[in-house]
C-alpha cells in the first residue's frame, strides 16, 4: 500500500432511448425480419452503428475498470434511487435532497451519460470519443 486513496470504480450509465426498441419481449426477443420472429441478434452493421453500443464498447475498451451499464429509459425503479444515492455519496452528503432529486429526474433523459450519478452529456451528441472524454474528465474531477 502506498498510502494513496484507492481509485474508486466509476459507474457509467448509458440511458438507452425507448425509441431504440426493436423486437418485443418474450418469444420474440430476437430479430424480426419481414415480420417473422427469428432467433438471433441484429446484423453486425446495425450493431456497429448503434450510438449506445458504440459508446459502451469505447468505454469498456479504454476504461476496463469502469462499471458500464446500459439502462432502459423506462427503468425508473433503477435510475431514480441509484442516481439519487450516487449524487449524495459523491458530494459527501452535502448535496441537498432537492438537488439530488433533480439530478435523479434528469437521469431519466433518453441518451444520458451518467458518471457516478452526474449527468455529463448525451450519447448521440457526444459520439463514442466524446463520451469517453467526458467520462475521463468526470473521473479526474472526482479523483482530484
Amino acid at each position: 500500500m502506498d498510502g494513496a486513496a484507492a481509485p474508486t470504480v466509476t459507474r457509467v450509465v448509458l440511458v438507452r432511448p425507448w425509441t431504440d426498441g426493436r423486437a418485443g419481449g418474450g418469444c420474440c426477443g430476437g430479430e424480426v425480419r419481414d415480420g417473422v420472429c427469428r432467433d438471433g441478434t441484429h446484423p453486425v452493421e446495425e450493431l456497429l452503428a448503434d450510438p449506445v453500443g458504440q459508446a459502451w464498447r469505447a468505454v469498456r475498451r479504454e476504461l476496463p475498470d469502469a462499471d458500464v451499464q446500459v439502462v432502459d429509459v423506462a427503468n425508473t425503479a433503477y435510475l431514480l434511487p441509484t442516481t439519487f444515492r450516487a449524487v449524495r455519496r459523491r458530494s459527501g452528503e452535502r448535496a441537498g435532497v432537492l438537488a439530488s432529486l433533480r439530478a435523479a429526474a434528469r437521469a431519466t433523459t433518453a441518451g444520458s451519460v451518467l458518471v457516478d450519478g452526474q449527468w455529463v452529456g448525451d450519447v448521440a451528441e457526444l459520439g463514442p470519443d466524446g463520451v469517453l472524454a467526458a467520462v475521463r474528465r468526470a473521473r479526474a474531477a472526482v479523483n482530484t
Binding site: 418469444c27 415480420g35 420472429c37 469498456r60 423506462a74
Partner: protein, 583 residues
C-alpha cells in the same frame, strides 16, 4: 383475520423461499458457476448482449412479466375460499414458479441466450419447436380473448373509465413524442401524464360512456360491442412501431403499478380490513371441484409459462454473472406472487364488509368468474377509501389501472400472435401467409375475437370462467414445456432433477385432468366450439408428456453434458467483448 397480517405472513414465506430454496436450486440443481462466461459477455455488443447489473435486469424483467393475469385468476379462485387460493399461490410461487423462472433463465444463459422454443428444439427434439409454437398460438389466442372480455365487462360496469382509457392512447403518444423530440427527462412528463389520466377519471365520472343504445339497436350485448371495438383498435395498434404507443404507455403504466401497489398496501394498513370470506368455501353442488380447477384457474401468480418466454428472450442476454439468475428469475416469480396475494385480499377483505355480502358476490362459479375482476376493482376501491379517496372515484381509479394493464397485454399479445402465425405458416410452407403482414394480423385478431364473443350471460351455455380455465391450461402447458426442457438439461448435467420434476408432473397431471373433465362437460352440453378446442389442447398436452418422457429417458441413458460456454480465466480475458476493437 386482518388482511395486512396475511400479507405479512406471505411476505415472510416468500422471503424464506428466496433465502433458502433458491439458494439450494442455485447450488445443487442448476449448478451455477460464478466463473461461467455468460452470453452477455461472450457476445457482448452493447446492443443485444450487454452484461448488466442484476438490479437493472430485475427492473426490466419484472415490469415485463407483471400484468393483469395475476389479478384475474386469484379473484376467481377465492370462490373455493381464500385458504386454498393463498396456499397454491405461496407454495406454487416458492416451489414451482421460482424453479421455472430461474430454471428457464439458467438454461437459456447456458445455451447462448436462445429462446425456450429453440432450446426445446435443441434439447428435446426437432418436433418440440412445432409443439412450442402451437401451444403459444393457443396461449396468445386465449390471452387476447379473455382480456378483451375483461375490458369489455369493466367498461360496461364502469362507464366512467372509458374516457380516461381512450384518452390515454393519444396522451401516451403525445408524451412519448414530447420526450423524444425535446430530449427532456422522461420522469416529469410521464408523471404529469399519470396525473392527467387521474384527472380524467373525474371527467369520466361526469360523462360516462355507455353503448347500451347501440348494442340494443344491433341486438347484441354491450360487452360484445366493446370487444369488437377493442379488436379493431388492436389490429391498428399492433401495426404501429412499438416506440410510438406501446412503450410510452408501458412507461405510464409502470408508474400506475407502483401507485396501485402502494394504495393496496397502505389502504390495508390504515383501514385494517379483515377477511370476511371463508377460509374454505362450501361451494354449491355442480360447481367445478377444487382439484384440478384451482390449479389452472390461478396460473399467473402461482406459475406462469409466459415468464419462460421473457426469461429466455431478452433477459438472458443481459445476465452479467450466472448467479444473477437467482436474483432476477426467482425474485421475478416472487413479485408476481405478491401481486396475486394482493388480488386475493382485495377480493376477500376489500370487496365486502360481511360474510353475507361476500356470499352474494360468490354464490356460484358462473357469477364468481363473471364478476371476479369487478370484485377486485371494488376491493381496491374500498382500500383506497381508507386513504380518503371518495369511493366512486376510487373504483374508477382501480378499473383504469386494470384496464390499462389488460389493454397493454392485448397490444403485445396481438403483436406476438402475428409473428407466431407467420412463423407457423413458414414451417407449414404457406409462403403467402408467412409474408403477408395484413393477412397474419387479421388471423391474429379474428380467432381470439371469435373466442371472446362466445361467453354469454348463461344462454350461451358456458361462462367467462371456462374461457379463463382454457387460458390457464395453455399457460400451464407452456410452463410444462419449459420445465421439461429444464429437467432434461439438469439431468444431462448429472444433477438431481427432482425439484423440477415434481412441479412438472403436478402441472401436467392437473392440466390433463381438467382438460378431460371439461371435454366431457363440453360434449354433454353440445359445445361444439369448445369441445374441439379442448381436445386439441389435450392432444398438445399428451404430445408434451411423450416428448418430455422420451427426452428424459434419453438423457438418463446418455448423461451428455449440456451445451455451454467456456469459463473465463482469472485475468478475465475470456470476458472481452467480441466487438471491443470495433467502433
Amino acid at each position: 383475520m386482518p388482511a395486512i397480517v396475511i400479507a405479512a405472513v406471505c411476505g415472510v414465506l416468500f422471503f424464506a423461499g428466496y433465502k433458502w430454496y433458491s439458494a439450494y436450486l442455485q447450488k445443487s440443481v442448476y449448478g451455477v458457476d460464478p466463473a461461467f462466461v455468460t452470453p452477455a459477455h461472450q457476445y457482448a455488443d452493447g446492443v443485444d448482449f450487454v452484461p448488466t447489473n442484476k438490479h437493472v435486469v430485475f427492473g426490466h424483467h419484472f415490469t415485463s412479466v407483471a400484468g393483469a393475469a395475476p389479478i384475474v385468476g386469484p379473484a376467481i379462485a377465492v370462490f373455493w375460499g381464500w385458504g386454498p387460493a393463498l396456499v397454491w399461490i405461496v407454495v406454487g410461487t416458492i416451489f414451482a414458479a421460482g424453479v421455472h423462472d430461474m430454471g428457464s433463465l439458467a438454461v437459456s444463459v447456458r445455451h447462448g441466450a436462445k429462446n425456450i422454443g429453440t432450446i426445446a428444439h435443441d434439447v428435446i427434439s426437432t418436433r418440440a419447436r412445432t409443439l412450442f409454437l402451437l401451444i403459444i398460438f393457443f396461449l396468445l389466442t386465449l390471452v387476447n380473448a379473455v382480456f378483451a372480455v375483461v375490458i369489455g365487462n369493466l367498461f360496461v360496469a364502469n362507464p366512467g373509465a372509458v374516457i380516461p382509457i381512450v384518452v390515454e392512447i393519444p396522451l401516451a403518444i403525445f408524451i412519448g413524442q414530447y420526450i423524444y423530440r425535446t430530449k427532456s427527462a422522461a420522469l416529469v412528463p410521464s408523471l404529469i401524464g399519470v396525473v392527467g389520466l387521474y384527472l380524467l377519471i373525474w371527467v369520466g365520472q361526469k360523462v360516462p360512456i355507455e353503448l347500451t343504445g347501440l348494442a340494443d339497436a344491433i341486438g347484441v350485448e354491450p360487452r360484445n360491442v366493446w370487444v369488437v371495438l377493442l379488436f379493431a383498435y388492436t389490429f391498428v395498434a399492433a401495426r404501429l412501431p412499438v416506440w410510438l404507443l406501446l412503450q410510452p404507455r408501458d412507461y405510464i403504466n409502470s408508474h400506475q403499478l407502483f401507485i396501485a401497489l402502494a394504495v393496496i398496501g397502505l389502504g390495508m394498513l390504515v383501514g385494517w380490513n379483515t377477511v370476511v370470506a371463508p377460509a374454505v368455501n362450501d361451494v354449491p353442488d355442480g360447481s367445478p371441484s377444487m382439484f384440478p380447477f384451482l390449479f389452472i384457474t390461478i396460473a399467473c401468480g402461482a406459475i406462469s409459462g409466459f415468464h419462460s418466454l421473457v426469461s429466455s428472450g431478452t433477459t438472458a442476454k443481459q445476465i452479467d454473472k450466472e448467479q444473477d439468475v437467482r436474483h432476477v428469475g426467482y425474485l421475478g416469480a416472487v413479485g408476481e406472487g405478491s401481486l396475486a396475494v394482493g388480488a386475493v385480499l382485495a377480493a376477500t377483505a376489500g370487496v365486502a364488509a360481511t360474510r353475507a355480502d361476500w356470499d352474494e358476490l360468490y354464490p356460484d362459479f358462473a357469477t364468481a368468474s363473471g364478476g371476479a375482476v369487478g370484485n377486485f376493482v371494488n376491493g381496491v376501491g374500498e382500500f383506497a377509501t381508507n386513504l380518503g379517496i371518495p369511493l366512486d372515484l376510487a373504483v374508477i381509479f382501480a378499473a383504469v389501472v386494470v384496464i390499462s394493464f389488460a389493454a397493454t397485454t392485448m397490444d403485445t399479445g396481438v403483436r406476438l400472435q402475428r409473428y407466431i402465425v407467420q412463423e407457423i405458416a413458414e414451417i407449414a410452407g404457406w409462403t403467402r401467409l408467412a409474408r403477408n403482414l395484413t393477412l397474419a394480423s387479421i388471423i391474429a385478431v379474428v380467432v381470439p375475437l371469435a373466442m371472446a364473443m362466445l361467453p354469454g350471460g348463461g344462454e350461451a351455455g358456458y361462462t367467462f370462467g371456462v374461457l379463463w380455465q382454457l387460458f390457464g391450461t395453455t399457460n400451464q402447458l407452456t410452463a410444462g414445456l419449459a420445465l421439461a426442457v429444464v429437467a432434461v438439461w439438469v439431468t444431462q448435467r448429472r444433477r438431481n432433477p427432482i425439484s423440477v420434476l415434481i412441479p412438472l408432473v403436478f402441472l401436467l397431471a392437473m392440466t390433463a385432468w381438467a382438460l378431460v373433465v371439461n371435454l366431457k362437460n363440453f360434449v354433454e352440453a353440445d359445445q361444439w366450439v369448445l369441445a374441439p378446442l379442448d381436445l386439441i389442447i389435450f392432444v398438445l398436452a399428451i404430445w408434451l408428456v411423450v416428448e418430455a418422457a422420451l427426452a428424459l429417458r434419453k438423457s438418463w441413458g446418455s448423461g451428455a453434458p449440456g451445451v455451454g460456454g467456456t469459463p473465463s480465466d482469472d485475468s478475465g480475458t475470456a470476458r472481452e467483448p467480441d466487438y471491443s476493437d470495433r467502433t
